[in-house]
């Protein structure tokens, strides 16, 4: 699973990465994300809530058929706190801190605690987002999986004029990289472990009023060490703001 940070409860944010936007205070955002990679199907069912104008909480349940039957694969609690915002006519600059705890639903699978800074610009025409984070991984197992670093950079462009009462679409190019530290077995580094991957994904974000559909395809373009780059995969998210 390389899509550690699911989208959702956000705005025009990366599909494969993350961004700083938070929900309006008191707003609800149910969303469903499905990822297809070969015969593997992973889904996330999530609900976000705007606790304050700057703080959004999200609860997620992941399902996957990776280990046989389609079943719950993880539970996740995510917090996004936007600590900087600069609203100007037609655009906004924002920076947020994301933290999330992921607990496995199946025995033997690793859990994780991730923190990341993410910032960017949302504008009438252009978007960009840049993010970097670090994740501690743990498992109820003598072999401790290596911690991970994630970084991503995204550019977005809206080809048409925007009107609040009409459908809207923005296109993005997302780049995402991961570096995994070596796993440890009883405290000793495991020789054939750790490595880095890098992937690129063209994506779109279609909205009409409070309904959003985003989708895209991700291509693994580079790998190093003992981590495989992600297989070409397709992702689709449907989200409603209430």
């Amino acid at each position: 699973m390389l899509t550690f940070y699911s989208p959702g409860a956000n705005a025009h944010e990366p599909l494969y990465g993350f961004g700083p936007h938070v929900l309006f205070k008191g707003g609800w955002a149910p969303h469903i994300t499905t990822n297809f990679s070969g015969k593997l199907v992973e889904s996330e069912y999530a609900l976000g809530y705007g606790i304050t104008p700057a703080w959004t909480g999200i609860a997620e349940v992941g399902f996957s058929d990776a280990s046989g039957p389609y079943q719950a694969s993880f539970y996740r609690l995510k917090s996004k706190y936007r600590f900087y915002i600069n609203n100007q006519p037609g655009y906004s600059h924002q920076v947020a801190l994301i933290s999330q705890l992921t607990l496995p639903a199946q025995n033997g699978e690793p859990g994780a605690f991730d923190m990341a800074f993410t910032g960017g610009r949302e504008g009438l025409k252009f978007y960009w987002f840049a993010s970097a984070g670090y994740g501690l991984r743990f498992a109820d197992n003598p072999v401790k999986p290596g911690n991970r670093v994630i970084y991503n950079f995204t550019l977005g462009y809206r080809p048409f004029r925007v009107n609040y009462y009409k459908p809207d679409i923005v296109f993005f190019v997302e780049t995402t990289g991961f570096t995994f530290q070596r796993s440890k077995n009883n405290g000793e580094p495991v020789a054939e472990s750790g490595g880095s991957v890098f992937a690129v994904a063209p994506t779109f974000f279609f909205t009409y009023r409070n309904l959003a559909v985003r989708g895209g395809v991700q291509f693994g373009v580079w790998e190093d060490g003992f981590v495989n780059k992600p297989d070409t995969n397709f992702k689709l998210t449907v989200e409603v703001h209430l």
Binding site: K25, G27, P53, I85, Y91, S92, Y165, A212, H241
Partner: protein, 105 residues
């Protein structure tokens, strides 16, 4: 009789207009319709509001409310902040504000 009624109509229309207070908010940070939905939702909670209109490219929001229930400027600013935006200006008027995108809906 009809002539008398016709003469009376403008006065009645003016009276109806005078019962409404018109609000124009210049909002910074408006850049996408999906994000602006939260602002619409919150502004629609203002008692008696009607004719809410959002102009994204212009960064303008207009609405009207009963004159005797006109919210304070600070109340409107807080609503906009809670939605994630910044109210740069809040203007009140006895007459409707012109929309710059009249064909939008």
């Amino acid at each position: 009789m009809l002539a008398l009624l016709a003469l009376n109509l403008p006065a009645r229309a003016q009276e109806a207009t005078a019962e409404r207070a018109y609000i124009q908010i210049r909002v910074n940070g408006l850049s996408c319709p999906f994000c602006a939905y939260g602002l619409e939702k919150k502004l629609k909670k203002i008692a008696g509001q009607k004719n809410l209109h959002i102009q994204l490219e212009e960064g303008l929001v207009t609405l009207d409310v009963p004159a005797d229930k006109k919210p304070a400027k600070e109340t409107i600013q807080k609503i906009v902040t809670d939605a994630g935006f910044t109210a740069k200006e809040v203007n009140f008027s006895d007459t409707p504000f012109k929309h710059e995108d009249e064909d939008s809906h």
